[in-house]
């Protein structure tokens, strides 16, 4: 399910980061990498081509099948074109931290890619580079809606392995204690049901039920539980507020220090949002 991966690089990444991403995606079962770089200038420079070659060699030495792809033009469009052409199972995106002022003034290519991409995308955060092999824990934020149908196969199949799976539901409190009791009871039952379905693939499945903003709670719980990865479903949002403030996926990608895998609910998506309360 995650056998092939497109790895777009800015070529500013260090070899250490590349090795770290490679070892991370190896744990996800990836065997083939489409190494790609989009040149924004008029011609492809020798130095950059050489670096692409060196990275490819490094990845081959880690037992990956690697092919390199260079394009010219807009980064986001180039990556979208390549994903259509090469049909990888997912994209691994090394995240570049940008300060909020610069992000709001000049934008962020990473966020543009997250918004536009219509295949599963791994957002790789440098901060979570770990020396331990394999994943200790994954956190999945569910709202028991459409996204479950596309995320659960990843959790119950052979794609994602970890010792612990945290199933998180974050939502708003009901207007009165009685209704809230009922809401929480329903959520607990549904989390338990989902946990039962996913238990096959994980040693330990824990459920978390919190009250609050989805985008804040996902980040908080991931930090609290020291999760290695957040898995989130992504779907089209018609909400004007999401269009103005950015989707939950974008918000979590910016705020979280944990690796995130976003799985889109629809075939093609131009503005994504996680349906989560």
């Amino acid at each position: 399910m995650l056998g092939t991966c497109i790895l777009p690089l800015s070529l500013k990444e260090s070899f250490r980061t590349i090795r770290s991403i490679a070892s991370f995606i190896k744990d996800l079962g990836t065997e083939k990498i489409f190494l790609s770089h989009v040149f924004e200038g008029k011609r492809i420079r020798q130095k950059q081509s050489e670096k692409m070659g060196d990275i490819a060699e490094e990845l081959r030495s880690m037992d990956f099948i690697v092919s390199t792809h260079s394009l010219k033009g807009s980064v986001v469009d180039g990556i979208m074109d390549l994903t259509k052409e090469l049909t990888p199972d997912f994209a691994a995106l090394p995240w570049h931290n940008i300060d909020p002022l610069r992000r709001s003034l000049v934008g962020s290519i990473d966020i543009d890619i997250v918004r536009s991409i219509d295949i599963p995308a791994l957002i790789y955060k440098k901060e979570s580079i770990s020396s331990n092999p394999g994943l200790d824990s994954i956190i999945y934020a569910t709202n028991f809606q459409r996204t479950d149908s596309i995320v659960v196969p990843y959790l119950s199949g052979n794609s994602l392995h970890a010792r612990t799976l945290y199933l998180l539901h974050a939502g708003q409190r009901a207007p009165d204690p009685e209704a809230d009791q009922k809401r929480r009871s329903l959520i607990r039952n549904s989390l338990d049901r989902l946990a039962k379905e996913c238990r096959v693939n994980f040693d330990n499945v824990e459920t978390i039920e919190t009250v609050g903003s989805v985008r804040t709670e996902i980040v908080r719980e991931a930090r609290r539980k020291k999760a290695d990865m957040i898995i989130m479903g992504k779907t089209d949002s018609k909400k004007s507020i999401d269009r103005i403030l950015g989707s939950t996926a974008e918000s979590v990608a910016i705020k979280s220090h944990t690796n995130i895998i976003l799985i889109p609910a629809t075939g093609s998506s131009k503005s994504g949002s996680v349906l989560n309360g």
């Binding site: 809606q145 659960v152 809230d180 809401r183 549904s190 379905e197």
Partner: protein
């Protein structure tokens, strides 16, 4: 509800009230200085906040009325309104405005006319236009929007969601069980504080006006003894009304008052300069509508800054400080109505009546000022409590009109104090819809005592400013209340239309198919 110790809010509120009153008796100058400083600083620093918050409350109310939330019933789905439209509007009006409108109906336009902002020549035609438009504005739809936010929240969380009718209940979606703890206590105690001081101030000023009217008609000197006797009589009357319950006491008195007020209004319209009044009504309505946004959001930092502080911001803070009391009372009489019906009813009918009132009484005074009695504006402004009676002296049956107005004042006085007593007793008995009689009596006597003591010691002004100071935390509380109400209504809508996320939970078989 069971988790809340029964008497915490009651005891704490009583201690706070008695402390402030004791300060007012021992050192009225200190209390006045303290409240003046607080009031001045709050208005100066957060005036813009009052304007924007009030405008936001109006937009929020209209949004609720015209959105899908408008269909939500303030009660269970099968419930019908408990009071007829006439009974409901009468009580709405009596609790929300009543006594104040009689007090300011003539005095406010005249006061603005003689003391407009510095960029308008006083006593001019422009000043008259300005006076009427701003009287409409201060008593128009904004005050009702403030009341609506408060009462809608209480009614929704209490009658629809089964919570106790307390202001703290409205915050369950935001703070959950903390409503039963310190946060909830603070909110409820603050509401009691604002209510008791608001109503005591109103009663004190009302007593002044009734005494002045009686003094004019019966030709006697108004002394402190007169005030005390008057307050004692009214206390007995409103306690009697309060103990008979909402259905009989307040409803009957409110209906009676609206009938008397309407008769008075029609008489003045018919006997007075009818077409002049209707001209003023039409023209001021047009001015009000065309300058509505400007008046709603302008703090006038370049011109008329002080005027806006002394009037508009004062009023907004005053309405907000009254909102816990009016909100709780209006909520309790609005059970069974839909959100749309409630918002549109409360925004339009009292506002139209208020516009008519100002046009008739203010217009009649302007007619005299510009015609046969130049200088009446000056006379009215120099003694506001007798302003209306001065106007009557130019009309036939002036003694009868004065007596009717005094009756009107007394009854409004009783209905306000009656509903405040009911609300205070309810707030301090954990939201019991039928609060204990003993609590009604305690609060009734406290209101009257506070009004009487501070009227005599000269602390009424200070008390009014203290009530207005309480409006600042309440403005913030009300903004969060809107957020909480929106969350609650959204949940309610989703629950009833089967769109709630937890009801869309995948069934076991569905999850199995997926995996």
């Amino acid at each position: 509800m069971d988790k809340k110790p029964d008497n915490t809010v009651f005891i704490m509120s009583l201690i706070m009230v008695l402390t402030v009153v004791a300060t007012g008796i021992i050192s009225p100058e200190f209390l006045l200085q303290l409240s003046k400083t607080l009031h001045k600083e709050i208005i100066r620093s957060f005036g813009w906040g009052y304007l924007t918050a009030t405008f936001f409350f109006l937009c929020f109310s209209l949004f609720l009325a015209f959105s899908r939330f408008g269909d939500i019933k303030l009660g269970k789905d099968h419930e019908k309104p408990r009071y007829s439209y006439f009974g409901w509007f009468s009580m709405l009006f009596a609790a929300g405005m009543g006594i104040g409108l009689i007090f300011w109906g003539v005095a406010e336009p005249m006061s603005h006319f003689l003391n407009p902002p510095s960029y308008i020549a006083n006593g001019s035609g422009t000043a008259a236009e300005f006076a009427m438009t701003h009287s409409f504005f201060h008593w128009g739809i904004q005050p009702w929007a403030i009341y609506i936010v408060m009462s809608l929240s209480i009614a929704f969380f209490s009658f629809r969601r089964g919570m106790p009718p307390l202001i703290s209940s409205c915050f369950y979606p935001l703070i959950g069980e903390k409503i039963y703890g310190l946060t909830g206590y603070i909110i409820d105690i603050l509401a009691v504080f604002a209510t008791i001081f608001g109503i005591a101030t109103s009663l004190g000023f009302g007593a002044l006006q009734i005494s002045s009217g009686l003094g004019m008609v019966l030709d006697f000197e108004v002394t402190n003894t007169v005030y005390l006797i008057l307050i004692a009589i009214i206390t007995v009357l409103f306690l009697a009304s309060s103990l008979t319950g909402l259905d009989k006491g307040i409803q009957f008195l409110s209906k009676l008052n609206i009938l008397i007020a309407t008769c008075l209004l029609l008489f003045m319209l018919a006997v007075g300069p009818t077409s002049y009044i209707l001209d003023i009504l039409t023209s001021t309505t047009a001015d009000y509508l065309s300058s509505f946004l400007n008046m709603s959001l302008s703090t006038n930092p370049f011109k008329g800054y002080d005027w806006t502080h002394s009037w508009t911001l004062f009023y907004w803070a005053w309405w907000i400080s009254w909102s816990p009391f009016v909100g709780l009372f209006v909520a309790s009489i609005s059970r069974g109505r839909t959100v749309r019906e409630f918002v549109l009813g409360a925004l339009t009918v009292p506002t139209i009546f208020t516009f008519l009132w100002f046009s008739v009484f203010g217009g009649s005074a302007f007619n005299l000022e510009f015609g046969k009695a130049p200088g009446i504006a000056e006379t009215i402004t120099s003694n506001i409590s007798t302003g209306l009676f001065e106007l009557y002296s130019y009309y036939p049956f002036s003694t009868a009109l004065t007596i009717i107005t005094i009756m009107l004042l007394v009854v409004f006085f009783i209905t306000s104090a009656d509903s405040a007593t009911y609300v205070l007793a309810m707030m301090t008995s954990n939201g019991k819809l039928i609060p204990p009689t003993s609590r009604k009596i305690i609060w009734g006597l406290t209101e009257s005592s506070v009004a009487a003591i501070l009227l005599l010691s000269g602390g009424l002004d200070a008390l009014q400013k203290m009530a207005i100071a309480a409006a600042l935390p309440f403005t913030i509380i009300m903004v969060f209340m809107c957020r909480s109400l929106y969350s609650g209504m959204k949940y309610d809508m989703a629950e009833t239309s089967d769109k709630l996320e937890i009801e869309d939970l995948p069934q076991e078989s569905q999850v199995r198919n997926i995996t």
